[in-house]
Symmetry: C2
Subunit: 150 residues, 2 copies
DNA sequence: CCAGTTAGTTGGATAGTCCAACTCAGCAGC
DNA sequence: GCTGCTGAGTTGGACTATCCAACTAACTGG
Protein backbone atom coordinates (compact mmCIF):
# COMPACT_ATOMS: atom_id res chain seq x y z
CA UNK A 1 0.00 0.00 0.00
CA UNK A 2 1.01 3.63 0.36
CA UNK A 3 3.36 3.83 -2.57
CA UNK A 4 0.88 3.44 -5.40
CA UNK A 5 1.86 6.29 -7.66
CA UNK A 6 -0.94 8.06 -9.47
CA UNK A 7 0.25 7.25 -12.97
CA UNK A 8 0.27 3.63 -14.12
CA UNK A 9 -2.56 1.66 -15.64
CA UNK A 10 -6.01 2.03 -14.18
CA UNK A 11 -6.72 -1.55 -13.35
CA UNK A 12 -8.79 -3.60 -10.96
CA UNK A 13 -5.92 -6.05 -10.52
CA UNK A 14 -3.80 -3.22 -9.12
CA UNK A 15 -6.73 -1.99 -7.02
CA UNK A 16 -7.33 -5.48 -5.66
CA UNK A 17 -3.64 -5.89 -4.85
CA UNK A 18 -3.66 -2.53 -3.06
CA UNK A 19 -6.16 -4.09 -0.65
CA UNK A 20 -5.02 -7.72 -0.32
CA UNK A 21 -1.60 -7.68 -1.99
CA UNK A 22 0.48 -6.94 1.07
CA UNK A 23 2.44 -9.69 2.71
CA UNK A 24 0.33 -11.97 4.95
CA UNK A 25 -3.02 -10.53 3.87
CA UNK A 26 -4.08 -13.48 1.76
CA UNK A 27 -2.68 -15.96 4.26
CA UNK A 28 -4.72 -14.30 7.00
CA UNK A 29 -7.77 -14.61 4.79
CA UNK A 30 -7.00 -18.27 4.11
CA UNK A 31 -7.00 -18.96 7.83
CA UNK A 32 -10.19 -17.02 8.45
CA UNK A 33 -11.94 -18.96 5.68
CA UNK A 34 -10.59 -22.20 7.18
CA UNK A 35 -12.23 -21.22 10.46
CA UNK A 36 -9.23 -19.90 12.37
CA UNK A 37 -10.77 -16.63 13.41
CA UNK A 38 -8.82 -15.82 16.56
CA UNK A 39 -5.64 -13.78 16.77
CA UNK A 40 -3.40 -16.44 18.25
CA UNK A 41 -4.70 -19.13 15.90
CA UNK A 42 -4.01 -16.91 12.90
CA UNK A 43 -0.54 -16.07 14.21
CA UNK A 44 0.29 -19.73 14.79
CA UNK A 45 -1.07 -21.01 11.48
CA UNK A 46 0.41 -18.33 9.24
CA UNK A 47 3.73 -17.96 11.06
CA UNK A 48 3.58 -14.19 10.71
CA UNK A 49 4.72 -11.90 13.49
CA UNK A 50 2.06 -10.59 15.80
CA UNK A 51 2.65 -6.92 15.03
CA UNK A 52 2.17 -7.10 11.27
CA UNK A 53 -0.76 -9.49 11.69
CA UNK A 54 -2.41 -6.92 13.97
CA UNK A 55 -1.77 -4.28 11.30
CA UNK A 56 -3.08 -6.51 8.48
CA UNK A 57 -6.21 -7.43 10.40
CA UNK A 58 -6.82 -3.74 10.94
CA UNK A 59 -6.44 -2.83 7.24
CA UNK A 60 -8.55 -5.81 6.16
CA UNK A 61 -11.30 -4.72 8.55
CA UNK A 62 -11.03 -1.14 7.27
CA UNK A 63 -11.25 -2.40 3.70
CA UNK A 64 -14.42 -4.36 4.50
CA UNK A 65 -12.88 -7.76 3.83
CA UNK A 66 -13.04 -8.91 7.45
CA UNK A 67 -15.32 -8.00 10.30
CA UNK A 68 -14.18 -7.70 13.91
CA UNK A 69 -16.71 -9.29 16.19
CA UNK A 70 -16.60 -9.49 19.99
CA UNK A 71 -16.99 -13.00 21.30
CA UNK A 72 -16.45 -12.01 24.91
CA UNK A 73 -16.68 -8.85 26.94
CA UNK A 74 -14.83 -8.92 30.28
CA UNK A 75 -12.16 -9.55 29.00
CA UNK A 76 -12.82 -7.90 25.63
CA UNK A 77 -11.91 -10.44 22.98
CA UNK A 78 -12.54 -10.21 19.29
CA UNK A 79 -12.64 -12.67 16.44
CA UNK A 80 -12.38 -11.93 12.76
CA UNK A 81 -14.87 -13.22 10.23
CA UNK A 82 -15.00 -12.78 6.48
CA UNK A 83 -17.56 -10.38 5.08
CA UNK A 84 -19.30 -10.99 1.77
CA UNK A 85 -16.36 -9.26 0.12
CA UNK A 86 -13.93 -11.53 1.96
CA UNK A 87 -15.76 -14.70 0.97
CA UNK A 88 -15.72 -13.46 -2.63
CA UNK A 89 -11.93 -13.78 -2.55
CA UNK A 90 -12.18 -17.58 -2.35
CA UNK A 91 -11.69 -17.99 -6.13
CA UNK A 92 -8.45 -16.01 -5.87
CA UNK A 93 -7.19 -18.30 -3.13
CA UNK A 94 -8.29 -21.43 -4.98
CA UNK A 95 -6.64 -20.24 -8.18
CA UNK A 96 -3.42 -19.53 -6.29
CA UNK A 97 -3.62 -22.94 -4.59
CA UNK A 98 -4.18 -24.68 -7.88
CA UNK A 99 -1.22 -22.92 -9.48
CA UNK A 100 0.96 -23.59 -6.44
CA UNK A 101 0.01 -27.28 -6.50
CA UNK A 102 0.91 -27.54 -10.17
CA UNK A 103 4.00 -25.37 -10.50
CA UNK A 104 5.52 -24.75 -7.08
CA UNK A 105 4.81 -27.35 -4.40
CA UNK A 106 6.83 -30.52 -5.04
CA UNK A 107 4.96 -33.77 -4.62
CA UNK A 108 1.25 -34.17 -4.05
CA UNK A 109 -0.94 -31.20 -3.08
CA UNK A 110 -0.73 -30.65 0.69
CA UNK A 111 -4.33 -29.47 0.90
CA UNK A 112 -7.19 -31.26 -0.79
CA UNK A 113 -10.81 -30.13 -0.91
CA UNK A 114 -13.85 -32.16 -1.74
CA UNK A 115 -16.57 -30.54 -3.78
CA UNK A 116 -20.21 -31.13 -2.94
CA UNK A 117 -20.40 -33.34 -6.06
CA UNK A 118 -18.10 -35.84 -4.36
CA UNK A 119 -15.00 -35.32 -6.46
CA UNK A 120 -11.71 -33.84 -5.34
CA UNK A 121 -12.00 -30.13 -5.95
CA UNK A 122 -10.01 -28.75 -8.84
CA UNK A 123 -10.78 -25.29 -10.05
CA UNK A 124 -11.56 -24.42 -13.61
CA UNK A 125 -11.89 -20.85 -14.79
CA UNK A 126 -14.73 -20.67 -17.28
CA UNK A 127 -16.59 -17.94 -19.09
CA UNK A 128 -19.68 -17.10 -17.05
CA UNK A 129 -21.68 -16.66 -20.25
CA UNK A 130 -20.90 -19.79 -22.24
CA UNK A 131 -19.25 -22.01 -19.64
CA UNK A 132 -16.28 -22.98 -21.77
CA UNK A 133 -12.82 -22.74 -20.26
CA UNK A 134 -10.86 -19.51 -20.44
CA UNK A 135 -7.26 -19.80 -21.44
CA UNK A 136 -4.80 -17.42 -22.99
CA UNK A 137 -5.90 -16.97 -26.56
CA UNK A 138 -9.61 -17.44 -26.01
CA UNK A 139 -10.10 -13.85 -24.98
CA UNK A 140 -9.19 -10.45 -26.30
CA UNK A 141 -9.08 -6.97 -24.85
CA UNK A 142 -12.27 -5.01 -25.45
CA UNK A 143 -11.77 -1.87 -23.43
CA UNK A 144 -8.76 -0.66 -21.48
CA UNK A 145 -8.96 2.27 -19.07
CA UNK A 146 -12.25 3.34 -20.58
CA UNK A 147 -10.83 3.34 -24.10
CA UNK A 148 -12.21 0.89 -26.65
CA UNK A 149 -9.56 -1.25 -28.32
CA UNK A 150 -9.48 -2.30 -31.96
CA UNK B 1 10.31 -13.97 -0.05
CA UNK B 2 13.16 -14.70 2.35
CA UNK B 3 11.25 -14.42 5.56
CA UNK B 4 9.11 -17.54 5.28
CA UNK B 5 9.72 -19.21 8.57
CA UNK B 6 9.84 -22.98 8.56
CA UNK B 7 6.84 -23.52 10.81
CA UNK B 8 3.42 -22.46 9.58
CA UNK B 9 0.98 -24.39 7.48
CA UNK B 10 2.27 -26.40 4.54
CA UNK B 11 0.21 -24.86 1.83
CA UNK B 12 0.32 -24.24 -1.90
CA UNK B 13 -1.19 -20.80 -1.42
CA UNK B 14 1.82 -19.82 0.68
CA UNK B 15 4.16 -21.48 -1.82
CA UNK B 16 2.52 -19.66 -4.70
CA UNK B 17 2.74 -16.35 -2.85
CA UNK B 18 6.43 -16.99 -2.15
CA UNK B 19 6.92 -16.91 -5.94
CA UNK B 20 4.46 -14.27 -7.13
CA UNK B 21 3.35 -12.61 -3.89
CA UNK B 22 5.93 -9.87 -3.77
CA UNK B 23 5.01 -6.35 -4.71
CA UNK B 24 4.85 -5.75 -8.48
CA UNK B 25 5.22 -9.43 -9.45
CA UNK B 26 1.61 -9.92 -10.52
CA UNK B 27 1.48 -6.49 -12.17
CA UNK B 28 4.57 -7.39 -14.19
CA UNK B 29 2.86 -10.59 -15.22
CA UNK B 30 -0.30 -8.70 -16.15
CA UNK B 31 1.73 -6.51 -18.52
CA UNK B 32 3.58 -9.44 -20.03
CA UNK B 33 0.29 -11.22 -20.70
CA UNK B 34 -1.07 -7.99 -22.21
CA UNK B 35 1.87 -8.02 -24.60
CA UNK B 36 4.12 -5.45 -22.96
CA UNK B 37 7.23 -7.56 -22.91
CA UNK B 38 9.96 -4.93 -22.87
CA UNK B 39 11.56 -3.41 -19.81
CA UNK B 40 10.63 0.21 -20.43
CA UNK B 41 7.07 -0.69 -21.39
CA UNK B 42 6.66 -2.70 -18.19
CA UNK B 43 8.13 0.12 -16.12
CA UNK B 44 5.84 2.70 -17.71
CA UNK B 45 2.66 0.62 -17.49
CA UNK B 46 3.09 -0.65 -13.94
CA UNK B 47 4.57 2.53 -12.48
CA UNK B 48 7.10 0.53 -10.47
CA UNK B 49 10.64 1.74 -10.05
CA UNK B 50 13.18 0.32 -12.44
CA UNK B 51 15.37 -1.28 -9.78
CA UNK B 52 12.69 -3.44 -8.18
CA UNK B 53 11.24 -4.30 -11.58
CA UNK B 54 14.68 -5.54 -12.65
CA UNK B 55 14.81 -7.61 -9.46
CA UNK B 56 11.27 -8.98 -9.95
CA UNK B 57 11.92 -9.90 -13.57
CA UNK B 58 15.01 -11.75 -12.43
CA UNK B 59 13.18 -13.74 -9.73
CA UNK B 60 10.27 -14.48 -12.07
CA UNK B 61 12.71 -15.80 -14.67
CA UNK B 62 14.48 -17.87 -12.01
CA UNK B 63 11.12 -19.25 -10.88
CA UNK B 64 10.26 -20.29 -14.43
CA UNK B 65 7.29 -17.94 -14.73
CA UNK B 66 8.90 -15.74 -17.36
CA UNK B 67 11.52 -16.40 -19.98
CA UNK B 68 14.18 -13.89 -21.01
CA UNK B 69 14.58 -13.87 -24.75
CA UNK B 70 16.98 -11.80 -26.84
CA UNK B 71 15.27 -9.84 -29.60
CA UNK B 72 18.43 -8.09 -30.70
CA UNK B 73 22.13 -8.67 -30.35
CA UNK B 74 24.30 -5.59 -30.98
CA UNK B 75 22.92 -3.92 -28.84
CA UNK B 76 21.92 -6.82 -26.61
CA UNK B 77 18.24 -6.38 -25.82
CA UNK B 78 15.93 -8.81 -24.11
CA UNK B 79 12.21 -9.22 -23.84
CA UNK B 80 10.26 -11.22 -21.30
CA UNK B 81 7.62 -13.73 -22.27
CA UNK B 82 5.41 -15.91 -20.11
CA UNK B 83 6.23 -19.58 -19.89
CA UNK B 84 3.56 -22.26 -19.58
CA UNK B 85 3.70 -21.69 -15.84
CA UNK B 86 3.26 -17.95 -16.32
CA UNK B 87 0.28 -18.35 -18.62
CA UNK B 88 -1.24 -20.69 -16.02
CA UNK B 89 -1.45 -17.71 -13.66
CA UNK B 90 -4.10 -16.09 -15.84
CA UNK B 91 -6.97 -17.42 -13.68
CA UNK B 92 -5.36 -15.81 -10.64
CA UNK B 93 -5.21 -12.45 -12.41
CA UNK B 94 -8.75 -12.77 -13.73
CA UNK B 95 -10.04 -13.71 -10.28
CA UNK B 96 -8.28 -10.71 -8.78
CA UNK B 97 -9.63 -8.45 -11.52
CA UNK B 98 -13.15 -9.73 -11.00
CA UNK B 99 -12.95 -9.14 -7.25
CA UNK B 100 -11.39 -5.71 -7.74
CA UNK B 101 -14.15 -4.76 -10.21
CA UNK B 102 -16.81 -5.82 -7.76
CA UNK B 103 -15.47 -4.69 -4.40
CA UNK B 104 -12.71 -2.14 -4.90
CA UNK B 105 -12.80 -0.15 -8.14
CA UNK B 106 -15.56 2.46 -8.02
CA UNK B 107 -17.66 2.79 -11.16
CA UNK B 108 -17.54 0.49 -14.17
CA UNK B 109 -14.66 -2.00 -14.67
CA UNK B 110 -11.72 -0.20 -16.27
CA UNK B 111 -10.67 -3.26 -18.24
CA UNK B 112 -13.09 -5.40 -20.19
CA UNK B 113 -12.30 -8.61 -22.04
CA UNK B 114 -14.28 -10.34 -24.70
CA UNK B 115 -14.45 -14.10 -24.66
CA UNK B 116 -14.24 -16.07 -27.88
CA UNK B 117 -17.96 -16.80 -27.46
CA UNK B 118 -18.69 -13.11 -28.08
CA UNK B 119 -19.80 -12.15 -24.59
CA UNK B 120 -18.01 -9.82 -22.20
CA UNK B 121 -15.71 -12.04 -20.20
CA UNK B 122 -16.71 -12.65 -16.61
CA UNK B 123 -14.97 -15.39 -14.75
CA UNK B 124 -16.73 -18.16 -12.92
CA UNK B 125 -14.88 -20.62 -10.71
CA UNK B 126 -16.37 -24.05 -11.22
CA UNK B 127 -15.57 -27.57 -10.13
CA UNK B 128 -13.51 -29.16 -12.88
CA UNK B 129 -15.33 -32.47 -12.33
CA UNK B 130 -19.00 -31.49 -12.33
CA UNK B 131 -18.87 -27.95 -13.72
CA UNK B 132 -21.07 -26.41 -11.06
CA UNK B 133 -19.93 -23.22 -9.39
CA UNK B 134 -17.71 -23.32 -6.34
CA UNK B 135 -18.66 -21.04 -3.50
CA UNK B 136 -17.98 -21.10 0.19
CA UNK B 137 -20.10 -23.90 1.57
CA UNK B 138 -20.01 -26.14 -1.48
CA UNK B 139 -16.65 -27.63 -0.56
CA UNK B 140 -15.08 -29.17 2.49
CA UNK B 141 -11.56 -29.93 3.58
CA UNK B 142 -10.48 -33.46 2.74
CA UNK B 143 -6.82 -33.52 3.61
CA UNK B 144 -4.65 -30.90 5.22
CA UNK B 145 -0.88 -31.20 5.29
CA UNK B 146 -1.08 -34.85 4.34
CA UNK B 147 -3.47 -35.61 7.19
CA UNK B 148 -7.00 -36.77 6.38
CA UNK B 149 -9.71 -34.67 8.00
CA UNK B 150 -12.96 -36.02 9.44
C1' DC C 1 -1.23 -14.94 45.22
C1' DC C 2 0.69 -17.00 41.20
C1' DA C 3 0.63 -19.09 36.65
C1' DG C 4 -1.69 -19.21 32.33
C1' DT C 5 -4.52 -17.41 28.38
C1' DT C 6 -5.70 -13.98 24.90
C1' DA C 7 -4.92 -9.94 22.27
C1' DG C 8 -2.41 -7.12 21.25
C1' DT C 9 1.85 -3.01 21.55
C1' DT C 10 6.65 -1.42 21.80
C1' DG C 11 11.65 -0.99 20.47
C1' DG C 12 15.59 -1.93 17.94
C1' DA C 13 17.83 -4.42 14.14
C1' DT C 14 17.30 -5.93 9.54
C1' DA C 15 15.38 -6.00 5.01
C1' DG C 16 12.69 -4.03 1.28
C1' DT C 17 11.19 0.01 -1.54
C1' DC C 18 11.37 4.58 -3.76
C1' DC C 19 13.50 7.84 -6.73
C1' DA C 20 16.68 10.30 -9.32
C1' DA C 21 20.82 9.99 -11.46
C1' DC C 22 24.22 7.29 -13.61
C1' DT C 23 26.32 3.67 -16.76
C1' DC C 24 26.92 1.23 -21.07
C1' DA C 25 25.98 0.06 -25.73
C1' DG C 26 24.66 1.07 -30.28
C1' DC C 27 22.51 4.25 -33.54
C1' DA C 28 20.92 8.82 -36.09
C1' DG C 29 21.85 13.26 -37.58
C1' DC C 30 25.13 16.85 -38.56
C1' DG D 1 33.97 12.64 -34.75
C1' DC D 2 30.64 14.71 -31.57
C1' DT D 3 26.05 15.19 -29.63
C1' DG D 4 21.93 13.48 -28.45
C1' DC D 5 18.66 9.56 -28.22
C1' DT D 6 16.83 4.92 -26.89
C1' DG D 7 16.76 0.77 -24.29
C1' DA D 8 18.09 -1.89 -20.32
C1' DG D 9 19.47 -1.87 -16.59
C1' DT D 10 22.66 -0.35 -11.91
C1' DT D 11 23.92 2.59 -8.04
C1' DG D 12 23.40 5.46 -3.76
C1' DG D 13 20.84 7.49 -0.24
C1' DA D 14 16.46 8.33 2.06
C1' DC D 15 12.57 6.32 3.62
C1' DT D 16 9.40 2.53 5.00
C1' DA D 17 8.18 -2.18 6.24
C1' DT D 18 9.15 -6.39 8.52
C1' DC D 19 11.10 -9.44 12.02
C1' DC D 20 11.50 -10.86 16.69
C1' DA D 21 11.54 -10.90 21.44
C1' DA D 22 9.82 -8.83 25.29
C1' DC D 23 6.33 -6.23 27.37
C1' DT D 24 1.42 -4.60 28.83
C1' DA D 25 -3.27 -5.39 30.14
C1' DA D 26 -7.32 -7.80 31.54
C1' DC D 27 -9.01 -11.39 33.07
C1' DT D 28 -9.44 -16.93 34.91
C1' DG D 29 -8.48 -21.13 37.47
C1' DG D 30 -6.10 -23.24 41.26
Amino acid sequence: MSGVRGSARECSIANALAVVGERWSLLVLREVLLGNVRFDAIAAATGGSRDILAARLHTLVDAGVLEKRPYSSQPRRYEYVATHSGRALQPVLLALMDWGDRYVTPGPPPTVWEHSCGAELHLAAVCAACGSPVDSGSSRLLRLGGVDQV
